[in-house]
Structure formats: C-alpha cells, structure tokens
Amino acid sequence: MSVDVAVTGLGVLSAFGAGVDRFWRALVAGESGLGPLRRFAAPPGAAPVAEVPAVEARDHVRSPLGRRIDRVSLLTLAACRLALQDASLDAASLPRARTGLAVGSEFGNLDETAAFLDRLFARGTANPLLFPNLVMNAPLSYTTIELGLTGPSAMLSAGEVSGEAAIAWGAELVAEEGADVCLAGGADELGEALHQIFHEARLLSPTPRPLHSGADGFATGEGAAVLVLEPLARARARGARVYALLLPVAGFALPAPVHGWPRDAATLATRLAPLVSDADLVVAAASGDPQLDVLEAAALAAALGTRTALVTAPRAATGRFGAAGALAAATAALAVAHDLVPPTPGHVPPARHGLAVVAGRARAADVRVAVVDGLARGGACRPLRFEAP
C-alpha cells in the first residue's frame, strides 16, 4: 500500500537569495545567478560562480548548540525553515516522531574541513570545536535538533544527484506511511579548495552553454533546496496548497566509468523512455559540461522519439553542485504549479539533437508532468517525476 505524496512547501537558498519566490521570479525572468567570487579570493581568470548571498545564523538558529553551526548545516536549516513557512507549517506543531528528514550533499562542510586540516598540518593539533561539524551528517544533526525532529532521518551523498537521492528517499518514506511529513532536499557549499580544483582542471566556463554544441564547461556554485512532502490526503485535510504530486520512480544505474559519465546514450534512453513518454517538461541535468551534454541530449532525444517535451536546465542559472538537483526538483514542482517553464540562461539555439530547450524567455505551457532526469557520474541515475494534482 502506498499513498500519494504531495509537495506542499518549498524552501530555496540560491544565488538569487533566500526564498522560493525570489528563486522562481529570477528563473522565470531568465536571470543568471552567476557572478564574481566574493567569499574568498578568486584566482586570476576565474569564471563566474553561483554564490549564495550571506545567510545569517541568527535568523534561523534558536538553540544554544546552534551557535557553532557550519555553513552547509545553516543552508540546510534555513531551507527547512523556509519550506515549512511556505507550507504554512509550524515546526513546533509538527508530529515530532512522525516527521522525517532527508538531506543530500556531495561534499558536506568544505570550508571548515579545510581550516581543520590547515591547522592539523601546520601545528599537528586538531580543533575540537570544529570536528563535530565535519561529519557528513552535521546538517541532519543541527536540523533535527533545531526543529525537534525525532523520526527517521538520512543523510545521502550521491555525487551530482545528491539532492534527487534525498528527495526520492523522503518521497518513499511518506508514500509507505513511514512519516506524516518529510523535509527532503539537499545542500552544498562552494569551498575554496573545491573551486581551485575545478579551476585548475579547467572544467569551468566563463559562459556555460548547456545543450548547445559549443558547450565548453560549467559554472560551479552552491545552494540548498528543501521540499515539504506529505500524504496528499493530509495536505487536503489541512487545506494546504499543493504544488505538485511526487510520484515513486525507481533509481537505476548504467555501465559507466567509475569517475565518468555513462557513454551509452541508447541504454539510458531505454530506461528514461517510460518516464518521459508523457512528460511535458524535462528538467535536465545539463550544465555546459560537454560530456554530459552529449550523453543527455542523445538519450533524451531517443527517449522522446517523435514526441516533443520542453527542456530547461536550471544549473545554467544557479550553478552545478552536488545538491543542485534539489533546486531542479523545486523548479519542476513550480513549473507544474504555475504552468510555466523558465528559460535556460546561456543557451543559444539550436539545441543538440533538436531538443525543445526553452531559451530567452519563459514559456507558458500546460505542464502536467515534469521529469527531473537525475544523471550522475559513476552511472547512478535518480530521476524524479512530478505531476499536477
């Protein structure tokens, strides 16, 4: 037995700032969130990045323990609080033991890990105050403590689909009646060392052009997004706004290099075809990474066959990072709710394989089914499917 899962709240911290309204308005306006690095010194010639404007701990932290919160945990907590507010839910009145939490992150706390190692290498001593923040699940700990959640919780790390993986876990938990509410999403920060790694490996582009034959790299970034998931019946009973339904979709894996993208677009197309056979919109993983673009465009074109579905790639606006799929999921739910597809900044027609990539301005369309295709290096795929209620 499983129940329908409704998305009733969205909390987003992106390069556009805090809040789902700001996120959606900027996306729909075709704005790019990319800009110069501000949090740390940029190496010469650094490409623009999608940085989240300063988030104040005092706006979100209530407990004395939370004073030492790290930035990824703060992004997570803030996204959870914003999502609850958006869902007209009060943390204090949540059913504590029946509220789940799922957070996805590729790298967790990068800044403090670097600071910890710097001192360890320089002086041979560890900072005991930092260490508790360095465990991967710190965002889960701080958020359960701040919101008083004692139900099932999970930290997931799935490379580029860390956000999708956590949202899928939360959706299954609610569908199987393991929780009455689940906060599910992801967060990642852009650390200085990680930026340096991408920069020195020449993976970043000053002008990402997703799904275009001239794509030559991506823009890295950071952010967090959290979805409030609850049984549709519960949402209806409390008169909640329902953005979209989140359908159960199985994840799968494809043969791929351990550290690279799958190469066989035909196999991916076969797996994606049943998911997109009636999709009005595909929220693509594309970020301007040429290898991913080649795979994704060919697979989507083959999976869609003679059908047309609109395609948009929000990572062009808000950056590619491990948890970016949580922002992609929010985009899909918003597109279903508003029957509106935001454009892909930087995309210049023609698209690879003739895909109907929305570019320039937002497109009004009847979006009854939106699919996040959820592709990652190493071959794990974690698609999500949203439908109009």
């Binding site: 190692l117 260490f131 359960t144 919101l147 799935a158 490996a201 894996a253 550290h259």
Partner: protein, 406 residues
C-alpha cells in the same frame, strides 16, 4: 505477513584479515586487532588503531587497471568485501541488472584527499591533480562496487556517522521486503584518516589503550577501519534460485535524538525508540532475543546510556542475556561499523558462537550483573540477535537478525 528477508552472502575486510573466514577465526580466537597506528604520523594522546594490514586481492572485474590502481583504501575494502558477499550468494551479472547497492560510509577517500590537499598547500604539487582526488566523493564506493560487479539496480549512499551502514542494511532490507528491488547488496566501508583520528583525539574520545567497552576504567574508543557486505533477498527469491540463507534480517528501525551534535541523549530516548521499533517491526518480543551485539564504543557516555536502554527493554532478563562489543576486537569502524557488526552477528547466529568483549578487566559496578562475554567467546545456540549502532548527532539504528526467517 510481509515476506521474510534473508542474508544469502556475506563478505568482510577487517583488521582481523581479509575475508569472512579470517574474521570468524579471529572472533573465535578472541584476538584483539588493535595495534600501533602506522598509516600516518600522528603525535597525540593515542597512537593505536585497528588497521587493515592484509595485502588484499583485487576483484576488479571489468574496471580499467588505472582505475583500480587509484582506488582509495575504503573503496578497495568495499570492493573486496562486496565481491566476497556476491560470490557467496551467487549474485552475478545475470541477477545484477536489477541488484541494488546500498552503501554506508562517512569519510571515504579522506586519507588520500588529505595528502593531495597537503601537497597542493605545501607547493609540492603545482596544481590539484584530479587523479589524486578520485575517491573524495562518498558516492565513489558505490560506483566502484556497482561497476566492478555489474550491479545496476538503484544505488544509495548513506552517511549518518557511526550508524551509516546499519542504515544501509536497514534500507536495503526495507527495499527488498517492499518488493521494490529483487535483491540488494548492503556495504559499509571506511578507512582511517588524519581527520577522524585527530578529531576524536581532540575530543578526548580515544582510549590510549585498546578500547575497553563496558569496563569501569574505559576511556574512549579505538578507531578501526574495514568493510563488510551482505546480500539480501526475500526467502522466496532465494529459494527459487537455490541460494542458501545464512541468516535473516527480521526487523529494523531508525530514529533521531534531536538532542546534541556529539553526545547521546542522556536517557537514550532515540536509541530506546529505535530498539523498540525494530523489535516491533520484527514481531519479536524482548524475551525471544538471545544475544545483543552492542554498539559498545567504550566511551563513558555511550556505554552507560546503552546499558540503560537495554535495561529498559529487557528488564531483569538482561542479566541472562549475553551482550558483547565487537569493537573491542575490531575497533570502531565508523561508517563500516554497522555492516561489520551485522556480519559479526550473522556469524554468531550461524556458527553458534558468542563473540567476546575483550579488555574487560573490571566491569563497571553499575552493570556487574550483566553477561558481557568477557575475555573469550563461547558456544551458544542463538535464534535471534539485535545489533544497534548510534551515530554522532543522534542517528540511531537497530537491526534484529535471526538464524532463520520466521
């Protein structure tokens, strides 16, 4: 009745050696694998760990040699343990198309990442080299296992500190029982690194002597490393393909303390809820439990809170219920601990052997009525056992395992 979930293959790489055979022999012999820390130089309060010293086999399957050469230690542990479990279960490429992979891990390739970071910061490398950082993302372990062994069902990686791979086992069992995957491999893996070693040491959580779970004089944990893997499927699925169940996963539950970033809840509220819910999920009463494979980390707080939880669940029967901590032999394997201890529990059930709690000189007077299986293991016919894991930040998982499906 929901379908029964059985374990049809197990694998392990621990400080007791490569393979389940070495683990079982070490457990039976009561050998403590905690020795000098040699992996990296460290000058602190403690200088011991349970290191994996075995020169491992390399069941790389179709992985390119360059990939295999660059695997991080924990990714290699995971692969070796997974290959052993799949081999024992007869899980090959034919079943692999839909076989799920569930991984629990906390720091993954951190040891290698630390070195790459140090070299770049010190100017020994003029730029970061991706080839030195391939094991950094935690998802790499699952990718290695999946791609080497041809397992192409869903792939999930959990990281809830010391309960990571107990959660992976629970989630794999859950997916199998619900019928969303026909067969699943659960893997826990982690490797020693400077970050965790120095971090726990700075918190004064490391015992300078090999850890002494439940001892009056316990001073903290001993860190370990390794991997363990379990193949899970329904009893009907195993029967239909002629696979022999080695044990059953009867029930599981996960809860959150919502209390503190490092300390357990003083009354163990979350741990109590997890154990109670896992027994309920297994439809097993406390009276039916024959063995408790404790978290037993050897910290002052954990052991006291854990015994308190056990008293509340098992009441006066606790005095007659064997409780032991495998961490006294294998160290605390962090992200791998849940899976390693699940495999230890499967061995206890299958072999009828209670693994001992080593280094127990003076049982804490607060629980000197308990049967902590001191000094040496002993034979016992066991039907049902529980294994619990408690992670930093208050993430609790309890597993209920049985010699046979019920």
């Amino acid at each position: 009745m929901p379908p029964a979930v059985v374990v049809t293959g197990i694998g392990a790489v621990t400080a007791l050696g490569e393979g389940v055979g070495a683990l079982a022999a070490g457990l039976a012999a009561g050998r403590c694998a905690i020795g000098p820390l040699t992996l990296f130089p460290y000058a602190g309060h403690a200088a011991i760990a349970a290191e994996v010293r075995a020169s491992m086999s390399s069941p790389s399957g179709p992985l390119p040699r360059a990939t295999v050469r660059r695997l991080s230690r924990p990714d290699r542990f995971a692969l070796v343990a997974a290959a052993e479990a799949c081999g024992a279960a007869g899980l090959g490429p034919d079943l692999g198309r839909d076989a799920a992979v569930y991984v629990g891990i906390t720091t993954g390739g951190m040891l290698e990442t630390e070195e790459a970071y140090r070299r770049r910061r010190a100017g020994e490398d003029d730029r970061f080299r991706l080839s030195r950082l391939l094991g950094t993302p935690l998802a790499t372990a699952g990718a290695v296992v999946s791609q080497a062994l041809g397992l192409y069902g869903r792939r999930e990686t959990f990281s809830t500190a010391c309960s990571s791979s107990a959660l992976a086992v629970a989630m794999a069992a859950d997916a199998v029982r619900r019928g969303v995957v026909p067969i699943a491999l659960a893997v826990g893996t982690d490797g020693l690194c400077r970050l965790t070693y120095a971090g726990f040491d700075a918190l004064q959580a490391l015992d300078p002597e090999p850890c002494r779970p439940f001892d009056r004089d316990r001073r903290g944990l001993s860190l370990g490393e390794g991997a363990a893997a379990l193949v899970l499927e329904t009893a009907a699925h195993a029967r239909a393909r002629g696979a022999r169940p080695q044990a059953a996963v009867l029930g599981w539950a996960a809860t959150s303390d919502a209390h503190h970033v490092t300390a357990p809840h003083p009354e163990g509220a979350g741990a109590l809820a997890a154990l109670g819910a896992a027994l309920a999920d297994a439809r097993v009463g406390p009276d039916a439990v024959d063995y408790v494979n404790a978290h037993g980390s050897g910290t002052r707080q954990n052991d006291a809170v854990e015994v308190g939880v056990l008293r509340r669940v098992f009441g006066r029967r606790l005095g007659h219920l064997p409780v032991s901590s495998a961490k006294s032999q294998l160290g605390h394997c962090l992200g791998a601990a849940g899976a390693v201890e699940a495999v230890v529990t499967v061995l206890a059930l299958r072999e009828g052997l209670l693994p001992p709690t080593l280094n127990l000189q003076h049982p804490d007077p607060a629980w000197d009525d308990l049967d902590l299986v001191p000094a040496a293991g002993r034979r016992a016919s066991l039907g049902v056992a529980v294994s619990s894991s408690y992670g930093f930040g208050g993430h609790n998982v309890s597993l209920v395992l049985g010699r046979e499906a019920r």
